[in-house]
Symmetry: none
Subunit: 153 residues, 2 copies
DNA sequence: TTGTTTCCCACGAAATCCCATGTTATCCCA
DNA sequence: TGGGATAACATGGGATTTCGTGGGAAACAA
């Protein structure tokens, strides 16, 4: 699982260290890569491992072939997704257009969200975080724990 | 299950012994870790094992992908959660920001709450405990035991 | 060439591992 | 039932490894 938030530097070449914990998640994928694309909302990037893409693919194939939404998702998700390989020290090179799109200016915040992650300009992230946090506090009652899956401890 | 309250020392490196009973709970998880994040209310930490995170993840994935609440919870729960591994003697290292957030000053109280636990500055905990106690006394009528589930103990 | 991308090596800071020790709880046997 | 032996737990400090970062050389493309 992708967890926690880490801020790493983006150098002049567009290179950024992927947090070690994130690398561990995709460690055993056939292609050891992360996949990154622009978010729908704009202003930041989304990403994940092979497993996430597989799930999106399966989801799309259940949709009607002539559904407009399907085409739109296919375009957006797969059309704009880049597969990024690690260099010897665990960095990836972010394409320039993605760096601009996310407004990454020397720093990038990796935010783990379980099955996927986001990449933010740290200042933009701080704004959204403040909002999310107060929203979550005000609505936490709506987040109920489901029964335990296996019944185990 | 995480049970009872234990106070252990936090050393200069941020290391703290996880109570042996808590360690036993996550003993057979694939990743032998505990997961810790700031509480919504602030001022203390919450934590649990892999099982708890899985439950949150499953819960969130049932929500609408574009529900604001979902995004807020994802961000707040997973974005701020740290996975902490044990050293050879059963300690974890708490990140500095979490130590500050909880006001841990040399001591940390682990409070077992069944499926999860909390980590408190012992003095703050004593305050809250006093409040909780009087609240419980004033509201004890609302605490009814449910019928026994399957007839089991 | 000229610009871009990939690979490789080097360094400092920080997190992690390892060994030693005090203390408390548990066990066993007289 | 007491008392000593044994094991489990919590703690402290030093050594080692990992991680993130910077720069340059080699391969590639235009």
């Amino acid at each position: 699982m992708f967890l926690s938030t880490t801020i790493n530097g983006v150098d002049a070449k567009g290179r950024v260290s992927v947090p070690a914990g994130f690398r561990a998640v995709v460690k055993n994928d056939p292609e050891e890569k992360i996949y990154v694309w622009p978010s729908f909302e704009g202003g930041y990037l989304e990403g994940g491992g092979q497993a996430l893409l597989d799930r999106y693919l399966a989801l799309l194939e259940e949709m009607d072939p002539y559904d407009d939404a399907r085409a739109a998702f296919e375009q957006t998700i797969f059309g704009d997704t880049r597969g990024l390989a690690f260099d010897g020290t665990g960095r990836v090179t972010l394409p320039k257009d993605l760096i601009e799109l996310a407004g990454l200016d020397g720093k990038a915040a990796f935010v783990g969200l379980g099955s996927r992650f986001e990449i933010w300009n740290p200042e933009r992230l701080a704004e959204r975080k403040a909002n999310a946090r107060s929203f979550a506090r005000d609505n936490k009652k709506s987040l109920k724990l489901p029964p335990r899956p296996g019944g185990g401890a």
